[in-house]
């Protein structure tokens, strides 16, 4: 009973906030609704017993991705009204394709039979918690996939650096080694000033 109520509660808010993400006029509101949607999806995962996925969703998507979006939206001067102008024009066509796809899925779905013997994986096998169960296999049975995922992230990192890092002339940078190597003798210039003539700086 409680689970059913919680499920409908989370789902309703999730769908409503997902709609608001694309419907909101203010892009900052869109991102905030996106964060709300992520939280509710995390709630749904917890209801399923997959608390690890729920946790990851909050940590990664809310903690990093959504905040990044927020930064982009607030710092870049993107004219969202201009971007949205075409929406109405493409809406009928897009809706038509969507309706066709849904109709096809429904037609196919009405005659689908799931394979009866397909085993339903439990989120909490053999009394282990979901996180424990994932940890047991992630670094053993799935080490191959895990390592390739690492390579994919490495490529993402190299790619981001290659495409964006530039050395512009005339940009002041902090060079720690130079700072540390500085001594009192290098920092202080001693000049012998004649009275009444000012320093070199004043003369120049």
């Amino acid at each position: 009973m409680f689970e059913a109520v919680a499920f409908y509660f989370f789902s309703a808010i999730l769908i409503a906030s997902a709609v608001m993400v694309i419907a909101a006029r203010n892009p900052v509101h869109s991102v905030l609704f996106l964060i709300l949607a992520f939280f509710n999806a995390a709630g749904l995962f917890v209801l399923l017993g997959a608390e690890f996925l729920g946790m990851i969703l909050v940590v990664v998507y809310v903690g990093a991705v959504a905040v990044l979006f927020l930064f982009v939206v607030m710092m870049l001067d993107v004219d969202f009204a201009e971007l949205k102008r075409g929406t109405l024009q493409y809406l009928p066509f897009g809706a038509l394709i969507g309706v066709i796809l849904v109709a096809e899925l429904v037609m196919a779905g009405s005659v689908w039979v799931a394979r009866p013997s397909a085993p339903l994986a439990s989120a909490t096998p053999a009394g282990l918690s979901n996180t424990e169960a994932l940890g047991m296999i992630l670094y053993t049975d799935y080490i191959y996939y895990f390592q390739i995922a690492g390579m994919v992230l490495l490529v993402a990192m190299i790619g981001a650096i290659v495409l964006t890092l530039r050395s512009r002339p005339g940009v002041r940078r902090q060079v720690i080694s130079v700072q540390n190597a500085r001594t009192a003798a290098m920092a202080v210039d001693m000049h012998d000033l004649k009275p009444g003539q000012g320093s070199e700086g004043e003369r120049a």
Binding site: A108, V111, W112, V113, A114, R115, S117, A118, P119, D141, I143, Y144, Y145, I148, A149, M151, V152, L154, V155, A156, I158, G159, I161, V162, L163
Partner: protein, 477 residues
């Protein structure tokens, strides 16, 4: 299976992965000047990996995620050759325009690693991981010339459409998993054998084929190809057209033939449809092109259509045909792109077909190689390209696909027109100003190798055909 045994099977890939990281660190420490050194080191690394592939162990590893067999061996050797020669081209290209960066060979090595994982994937999960590793590196490579508008456009388009196709692929995989209870190719095949082909599996298969057709740029999922081929730097386009195509097509073969042998009637009609459309579009759309790289893009769409005909046959003979096709295609295309890279006039790259006018009088050797490669691509006997098409059509006819094969022959007859037009422009039109004389030693070597290959394939065909035969029997015993 113990971890040691798994690692032995995975040795070539591990070598590439670790080598790429070593190269990356070396480059980062030595700075931008190290680009030529890193390029040569990357080529050496690929050669070492190639030796390990040829001598390495076969067998499955990591609970059915990875398989090294005769089929993957043939594909990997082709991929490594394509990658190594593309790096050679890239070294010359980027040092000419003073944009050498050590990240380029490193990214190419990592993309090659992804391709090797793709052709060895024996579960849908490892298929996807390999594909993403490769694609992500290719997106960056496409926009490598980042101050160039067309290059960044190519990268962005490739990225957006690639992400879309990955989405379709994943949707298909999730349906297949849901309706068969496994992501492993062998177990999917068993489930279909036991329970028959349900509608859900067909649905999943359709999305899977759509996603894969995107990666091999078959019609109607080809739209990105001309823009990406045109915009990407020429050596990177050469890489797309050779190694990446081999990897995607071999992945296509394995991901369709191994899990779905009992659903052949369902997927065959899709593949035939895609194949005929690709052949037709490749032949017709290339006629109106002005840019040589766009023309090569349409040519590659057409060639993928012919190769897919071998997949539609669904037999070991068909797989053999595809593999021979790919081997010939890789060598011919490397030569064409090396020649395109040589099209420079007063230090700037030119890419219009009109720039080729009268090439036979200004630089007769380049014109000779160029036209021989084009005629080979057109499939004129006795050049290599004829045999590529011959073995695919043969397999299709033996599998009872007479009409698709006839349509294919007609498409290649139409295709002949635009290849001949290029030859005519080079030999009979009023000469345009001459190209810059000096061609790098690497490009020169590639031009000679691929010219000789196209001309003398007829005498040296039997080892390649035997190797392709062994590889095909490994996939479909």
């Amino acid at each position: 299976m113990s971890l040691q045994a798994d690692i032995l099977v995975l040795l070539p890939e591990l070598t590439l992965a670790i080598g790429a990281m070593v190269l990356l660190l070396t480059g980062a420490i030595m700075g931008e000047k190290s680009a030529p050194v890193i390029s040569w080191a990357a080529i050496a690394l690929l050669a070492v990996a190639g030796a390990l592939v040829v001598t390495g162990q076969t067998g499955g590893a990591f609970n059915g995620a990875f398989v090294a067999d005769g089929f993957s061996r043939f594909a990997k050797v082709l991929i490594l050759i394509g990658a190594a020669l593309s790096i050679l081209l890239a070294e010359e290209f980027f040092s000419t325009i003073k944009l050498s960066r050590f990240e380029l060979p490193v990214l190419m090595v990592i993309a090659t690693l992804g391709m090797m994982l793709m052709v060895s994937a024996s579960s849908f999960l490892s298929l996807y991981m390999g594909l993403e590793l490769q694609s992500l590196a290719l997106y960056v490579l496409a926009s490598f010339n980042r101050d160039h508008l067309r290059s960044t456009e190519a990268g962005l388009k490739y990225f957006v459409l690639g992400a879309l196709s990955s989405g379709m692929l994943l949707y298909g995989i999730s349906l297949i998993y849901g309706f068969t209870g496994s992501v492993e190719f062998g177990q999917v095949a068993t489930a279909i054998f036991d329970n028959g082909v349900s509608l859900g599996i067909i649905f999943g298969m359709v999305f899977l084929v759509a996603g894969l057709a995107f990666k091999v740029s078959a019609v109607p999922f080809h739209m990105w190809t001309p823009d990406v081929y045109e915009g990407a730097p020429t050596p990177v386009t050469a890489y797309f057209a050779t190694a990446a195509k081999v990897a995607a097509l071999c992945l296509f073969l394995r991901a369709i033939l191994v899990p779905f042998p009992d659903a052949i009637n369902q997927w065959r009609q899709i593949i035939i449809f895609i194949s005929i459309l690709s052949m037709a579009l490749g032949a017709v759309a290339a006629l109106g092109q002005k840019n040589i790289k766009r023309l090569m893009a349409y040519s590659s769409i057409g060639h993928m259509g012919y190769a897919l005909l071998g997949l539609a046959a669904g037999t070991a003979l068909g797989v053999r045909g595809v593999l021979i096709y790919l081997a010939i295609y890789v060598f011919t295309n490397l030569g064409v792109f090396a020649a395109i890279q040589a099209m420079r006039r007063s230090g700037k790259a030119v890419e219009e077909i009109a720039d080729l006018a009268g090439l036979a009088r200004t630089s007769p050797k380049l014109a000779l190689v160029f036209s021989m490669l084009f005629l080979s691509l057109a499939g004129l006997p006795p050049l290599a390209g004829f045999f590529a098409k011959f073995y695919v059509f043969l397999a299709a006819i033996q599998a009872g696909l007479l009409w698709p094969a006839i349509l294919g022959v007609m498409a290649s007859a139409i295709g002949l027109v635009y290849y001949l037009r290029l030859v005519k422009i080079m030999y009979f039109d009023e000469p345009a100003p001459a190209f810059d004389g000096e061609i790098g030693i690497g490009s020169r070597a590639i031009l000679v190798i691929s010219g000789v290959f196209a001309l003398l394939f007829i005498f040296a065909a039997s080892p390649i055909i035997t190797a392709a035969d062994t590889a095909a029997k490994a996939l479909l015993p």
